[in-house]
Amino acid sequence: MSRITLTDLSRSYGPVEVLKHIDLDIRDGELIVFVGPSGCGKSTLLRQIAGLDRPTSGKIEIDGRDVTRVPAADRGLAMVFQSYALYPHMSVRQNLAFGLENARMAKDEIEKRIQEAARMLEISAYLDRRPGQLSGGQRQRVAIGRAIVRNPTAFLLDEPLSNLDAELRISTRAELAALHKRLGTTMVYVTHDQIEAMTLAHRIVVLRAGRIEQVGTPLELYNKPANRFVAGFIGAPRMNFLPASMFPGSAAAEIGIRPQHLRRATPGETGLKTTVVMIEALGSETVIHAENGGQRVLAVLPGQQQLSPGDEIALAYDAKDLHPFDKDGLRLP
């Protein structure tokens, strides 16, 4: 059981408000991802939960117990850091044991847990090496292992994959998902990478400038973004935002449409009349940069297209794929 509840949480450093009135309920066993551009406060929020930083106001509860003033060590949480933060002067084994020794656990129990975690993470072979002698991926596993041996009520992960190369990041991402399934423990995961968020999360929390913009499952966020910011942040390439005047009969101030939802109009079908400016042929799909009266429109068309810059094309769409926003950027029903 570990349910984490944040109530009206704020944190400011001097005059700078980093977190503004955060309310969030993290359910037991869930993998929740905080995502947002850099400086949005997602890491600060994680540090509040960890107890490494204290909120200026508001309340943090774990399983109904108010831990707002409880130091990090006594919250029963474990954390994986962006830089891994392995103790460079200790062997892998000592790194794993350090937290358990501090909790005054029996020696044989410590050894048992280390062996178990090492087997699970396939790091048994280098338990006696120093972190400096390991590759990035291996270090990352040790950092996760250090969290696992503690048997925490919840894991906190602060951009754990950002220091890995692209290939390793994808495979480790899958392993993390599998690990979560296996342990079933609550995980709070921070990333700036929306693809990571989409692939891992049960629920995503989108943050901007210290505020929660939207909380929801990945598909909820994709299909029904609550506002222009979330719409632009989730999904790649970024959603097109066009003046509503280009869409006859719309009451909105602005219309958003994802590049994947545009297609070449069949003869007779109406669509946006555009001029091709640039073509990126990726093989399986083609990204078209087009223009209509000064408005840039991006379209992802399937397969390979016989087009060249200067060509006139019409881009069609389905009305259900349009995202209408009002003048404040909020989604219209």
């Binding site: 960890a50 107890g51 060590a73 474990a78 933060a85």
Partner: protein, 350 residues
Amino acid sequence: MSRATEFVFRRRGGRGWHWTDLFTWFWLVAGFVLMFGPAIWLVNSSFKTPAALAEFPPTILPYVTAEVTVEGYDKPLQLFEVTLEDGSVRVFAEVRRVGTVAQMVDPANPAEIIRVNIKDRTPVRTVSFATENYVQPFLAFDMFRYLSNSVFVTVMATIITLITNSMAAFALSKYNFRGRATVMVLIVATLMIPLSVILVPLYSVIAGMGLFNSLWGVILPTVATPTGVFMLRQYMLTIPDELIDAARMDKASEWQIYWRIILPLTAPALAVLAIFSVVWRWNDFLWPLIVLSRRELYTLQVALNTYAGETNVQWHFLLAMTVITMIPVVLVFVFLQRFITTGIAGAGLK
């Protein structure tokens, strides 16, 4: 051999001799002689007997005049090589000298006194190291006392310096607290305040605490070195804060973080500070001179100065004591020189 000549005659850029090449070699050779020469001369002189030290012109090697015990004379007599009128050379022992005439005896025939003009005799000399110069200070003077006082002051001051400075540096590098900037300004500002500016009031503080004529009075004022705090702090700033966060998540107390995470990771900087501190404290002079007035409390430096200031300087002992004082620092130089020079080049501190 060819490698040696190549080494000696290597020139700039492989082109012809430039005046700067000559100058470089002049400077290096002169530097070598000037920097090491005086110390070598000191060591060399320290093995001479008082008689050899008083001689002018001085000899390069420590010689002593050979002596022999001759029947009928209580004291050993000095041996001389004498050129007789017939041109033959004999070895005689000198009994006494009267004006330009020396009264001598043949050790083989002690009864007969031979008169020799002093111009015709030269002393028989052998190379001999007067090791008693080194032994006597320990037996006759309190050399062992001074030595152990110096060691005590150096070791204690260094240990306390390392502990207090590293703790302060930890607080100043890894905690955010009100007044941190003020403390830093205070420390940097006093980097340049020398002892000589606060001599009188510091003395009264020490005396007021009852530490006058106590080795602790020498030690305590030196341990809060701003240089040390500054140097360690700069080093600790390079330790990532996430390590401390990780340790806190690992249920480590702040004290544990200090001695299990921070101290081991600061080891290189601590080593440099330890070396500096040993050299500083071993070499300290003015402050011990003021605080210590009882002879049995003198450190080596103060003792040396006292013996050097006596009206009748016993140079043979003084030189040997100077060499002994120099030994630890020379050892540091030989083994840890690279550590220090890179430390200074890196921090620009002393």
